[in-house]
């Protein structure tokens, strides 16, 4: 595949790196000399200096017949124009990063065939959606939904004092069906057997029906907490989108923002959220506004260090859960070590989202778990997938590391056992450890 990436910022770099590592031909167009050098030194791609909407430049890299154009510069209008140009050259798929809410909300613009944008992505909105997802299941480290939301996959961190520590998986029983798909322990992924025991510090991947998840979690000693109050530091775009989502759910949202004009702007856009003009790093203000009673504190300023510092402070003051936005990906591993519950990087999330879109479109969705240690695919079984159908699952010969996590048939989700038989039309969730990801394709191959 030949891919053109316009803009070598964090998102562009990340996508270029992944695509290049997967063996694709990647061209990067970047206007900044310094950024260009960094990319050239680190990645096996071809970097051009210039403007992404310059047809002569695009022609010089032989844009005609390229499979993919990803425009992820800081400039919305440039991104949209690049996609428009790509359309004229017959590029098969285009992605544009569009951050201004005026554009990405306007369906007439987004769906305009002349613009030729297949995926419009707004990093801040993606990040806000991610945080909102986590908020709905606050005890989890990560949440993913499949089959129109009927199936949930949770990543749960077993902390000291958890009642399930020391129990073997086969001894964990509950009212409802569930599946422990994998355990992430000491930096590696284990596909557990019945006699594997739960240990402190494990990250357990749990699959179950969304409507039963509240009960299923109890098996692993988790009690669902409902988040009622959320405090956001920094009135960035992520904060705005997040507040919008949370307002709809009826949560109590407070936003602390330094800049008065910006406060005014937010107040104009939001209905219920309490917008406070003040410095989020001011401990007195945080205490006056009840950080000690808040269920979730999210630090969303532009400054990574401030986010880390203040969210840790909030936790010390009594906030039950903290999330920090961190832009520099090299901080990421450190962050969870110092005690921040979850770190969010809009750029990484966006890169992931773009990659999900770019990859094979026969999957309804792909999610990447715990820094790429496993992937989850959602597909619809068809009559040509001879290797999957007409046999009980235990006889399919699935290698260790690949699981059928859930099955969605006749609008009803079930966690399949080894005796269930897949049929054409079923929607299934496949869980695959990183080591065996390539083998998934073998089972999905279509035969006449």
């Amino acid at each position: 595949m030949r891919a053109v990436i316009i803009g070598a910022g964090k998102i562009g770099y990340n996508i270029a790196e992944t695509l290049s590592n997967e063996g694709h031909d990647v061209y990067v167009i970047e206007k900044d000399e310094e950024r260009k050098q960094i990319v050239e030194e680190n990645l096996d791609v071809q970097v051009m200096m210039g403007n992404g909407a310059d047809s002569r430049l695009l022609e010089s890299i032989d844009i005609e017949g390229a499979d993919l154009l990803i425009a992820v510069t800081e400039n919305d209008e440039l991104n949209m124009m690049s996609c428009m140009l790509a359309g004229q050259y017959g590029v098969k798929k285009t992605v544009a990063r569009v951050r201004k809410p005026e554009y990405d909300r306007n369906n007439k613009l987004a769906s305009n065939p002349a613009l030729n944008i297949d995926l419009m992505i707004n990093p801040e909105r993606v990040a806000a959606a991610e945080i909102a997802k986590i908020i709905s299941v606050p005890e989890a480290v990560d949440v993913n939904y499949y089959a129109k939301g009927k199936i949930t996959l949770l990543e749960l961190l077993i902390e000291a004092g958890n009642s399930s520590i020391g129990y073997a998986l086969k001894d964990l029983r509950g009212k409802h069906q569930f599946l422990v798909a994998a355990i992430y322990r000491d930096g590696s992924l284990i596909i557990p057997r019945g006699d594997d025991k739960i240990m402190q510090g494990d990250r357990v991947f749990l699959i179950g029906r969304t409507d039963q998840m509240r009960e299923v979690e109890k098996v692993l000693g988790f009690q669902r907490r409902t988040i009622r109050s959320v405090m956001l530091m920094g009135g960035s775009r992520v904060a705005f989108y997040l507040a919008q989502l949370l307002e709809k759910r009826g949560l109590e949202v407070k936003i602390i923002e330094k800049d008065y004009k910006h406060c005014k702007h937010l107040a104009g856009q939001l209905d219920e959220a309490i917008i406070l003009n003040g410095d989020g790093s001011d401990i007195d203000l945080l205490q006056d506004e009840g950080v000690q009673d808040t269920d979730l504190f999210v630090a969303l300023t532009e400054d990574d260090k401030l986010n880390i510092l203040v969210s840790l402070m909030a936790k010390r003051l009594g906030a039950k859960k903290i999330i920090a936005q961190v832009r520099r990906s090299d901080y990421m591993p450190l962050i969870e070590a110092v005690g921040i519950d979850i770190a969010i990087s809009p750029r990484l999330l966006t890169a992931e989202a773009v990659l999900r879109f770019v990859r094979n479109s026969e999957f309804l969705s792909i999610s990447v778990l715990e820094k790429g240690s496993a992937e989850v695919y959602e597909i619809i079984v068809n009559a040509h997938m001879k290797r999957l159908i007409n046999k009980p699952i235990k006889d399919l010969g699935l290698p260790k590391g690949i699981l059928i996590g859930a099955m969605f048939r006749n609008n009803d989700a079930v966690i399949p056992s080894g005796n269930d038989v897949l049929m054409p039309g079923d929607r299934i969730i496949i869980f695959a450890a990183a080591a065996v990801v390539r083998k998934v394709e073998y089972f999905l191959r279509q035969e006449a």
Binding site: Y260, C263, A267, G268, I274, I275, L276, N277
Partner: protein, 502 residues
């Protein structure tokens, strides 16, 4: 020299305005001709007189230059003087035809007509000539959408200045423009208004009214006025169907015309459900109907249908400041009466033909109150006020709170004055509220089935002034009569905080 020129422009436009009033006398003239009433000579005389006076003003005060820049103050002056002159000329037919024998009564009736209040000093309505009754309804109809709006739509050649006088008459805290051009907006408003009148007229006919009554009531309903052609108002027809239909027509007349315009233009009802004011308006109406029905149910012998109908009719009538009655609500329990008084204080949607305080202003004040309570808990709170998704500038809030203050002060001072003139407390308070709010009937001695004729002469003049102030939403009239020359005295007595230079 400069001032002279502006005065010219003001009277020039007032003259044009009078010509519109003159034209409207065609309606009663035709009525007189049709019914062969002798009082027709009144209008045959008044039409050319009014027209002549208007033409005289237009000619004499022709501005020296074509382009005159009108200030807000000039706009307010045109509107206020125009309305007063219209009422002065409008009272002459009553005097000449012998309907009233004194100026106080005649002016009251004329002002009540133009300001769409609907309070009447006419004791025997059915005994009056039909041409006079038609004139009463026509004053309603003109005043409902606004003489100025019609003036801007047809005659004004003011360009950008038109907005100044349009604003001075338009009702509500936020003034919308339907078109980029103000004259087009005014034309659209009047087209819609005429359309509404036609529909209402047809509904009245279908409900069994005769043509004359139907025309009069249609004029009265769409203008949310309240003059009827019967002594007992709508109650005299004794038709439950008619009462329901009129209640609904009044409800529709209380809707913001911008909303109606958008609905017609896009042929979609979604704008109704998007508008917060409309939703609150409907909710207030339904809640009031429910509460009053519950209150009066025992009195009606648990006849639910009648109780609901009477309750709905009067709630719609008072909330839209129309003032029709179909039953004597003074016989209701006190709680139901107090509810009606509270509704007088509410008003319908901004941008409708209704008078009064307006739901939109209440919404803004409620938001503000909520914000202040929240700010008490969170001293650093930042919040903006919204009106149906739009953010309102700080200025609007100040204007609304001041409006509230002025409204209350005027009601209370007028109550005091009316009490001094010999009215009892309940009558005085509700009369002041009713006149300023443009409702019409009050409580006590000025109740739904009595007319205002028993009130003292001084009270009638005061009420007429209140009607004008209320219809033009206080600021316009105050701006004209604000003592400009002595302004500096006020400021020196009350130094502005931080104003150390002077």
């Amino acid at each position: 020299m400069k001032k002279q020129r502006k005065g010219n422009a003001v009277w020039h436009n007032v003259g044009k305005l009078l010509m519109i009033v003159a034209f409207s006398m065609v309606f009663p003239l035709m009525t007189a001709a049709f019914y062969r009433e002798t009082c027709g000579w009144v209008f045959l005389l008044m039409l050319p007189v009014t027209m002549g006076l208007g033409w005289f003003l237009v000619q004499v005060f022709r501005p020296a230059q074509k382009e005159v820049h009108l200030q807000v103050r000039d706009g307010a002056a045109i509107v206020t003087y125009g309305w007063i002159l219209a009422a002065l000329l409008g009272m002459l037919p009553y005097l000449l035809a012998g309907t009233f024998d004194n100026a106080a009564d005649a002016f009251f009736e004329a002002m009540s007509g133009f300001a769409t209040v609907g309070a009447s000093v006419l004791d025997d309505i059915e005994g009056a000539p039909r041409a006079i009754l038609m004139w009463r309804s026509v004053t309603h109809w003109l005043g409902g959408m606004g003489i100025i709006v019609l003036f801007v739509a047809l005659l004004a050649n003011l360009g950008a200045n038109a907005m100044q006088i349009f604003k001075a008459e338009a009702a509500g805290p936020v003034k919308d423009k339907l078109h980029p051009k103000i004259a087009d907006s005014a034309r659209s408003l009047w087209k819609l208004y005429i359309f509404n009148t036609m529909i209402t007229f047809l509904l009245m006919l279908l409900c069994g009214m005769n043509v004359f009554d139907a025309v009069n009531h249609a004029f009265s309903i769409v203008a949310t006025g309240g003059f009827s052609t019967r002594n007992l108002s709508i109650g005299s027809y004794g038709s439950p169907l008619l009462e329901w239909v009129i209640a609904f027509c009044m409800y529709m007349a209380g809707v913001n015309y911008t909303l109606l315009y958008l609905t017609f233009r896009n042929r979609s009802l979604k704008f109704f459900w998007k508008s917060r004011e409309f939703k609150v308006y409907t909710a207030v109406m339904l809640l009031a109907i429910l509460l009053i029905t519950v209150d009066i149910l025992p009195q009606y012998g648990y006849d639910v249908m009648t109780a609901v109908r009477h309750s709905a009719f009067h709630v719609a009538s008072v909330l839209t400041t129309t003032g029709f009655v179909c039953a004597d609500y003074e016989l209701w329990v006190p709680a139901a009466q107090i509810l009606l008084v509270l509704l007088m204080f509410s008003g319908a949607c901004a941008g409708s033909t209704t008078c009064g305080f307006k739901i939109d202003r209440h919404i803004i004040l409620v938001q503000q109150a909520r914000m202040e309570v929240q700010r008490f808990l969170h001293p650093r709170l930042v919040r903006t006020l919204k009106s149906s998704e739009k953010n309102l500038p700080e200025q609007t809030l100040h204007s609304v709170t001041t409006f509230f203050y002025l409204f209350m002060v005027i009601v209370l001072v007028s109550t005091l004055l009316l009490c001094c003139m010999g009215l009892d407390f309940i009558s005085a308070l509700t009369c002041a509220l009713s006149c300023l709010g443009g409702v019409g009937p009050a409580l006590g001695t000025l109740g739904p089935i009595e007319s205002f004729s028993s009130a003292p002469t001084a009270a009638k003049w005061l009420c007429s002034a209140l009607m004008l102030i209320g219809r033009l939403e206080i600021y316009t009239v105050l701006a004209v009569f604000w003592p400009a020359k002595h302004r500096h005295i006020w400021y020196k007595k009350l130094p502005v905080y931080g104003d150390y230079d002077e």
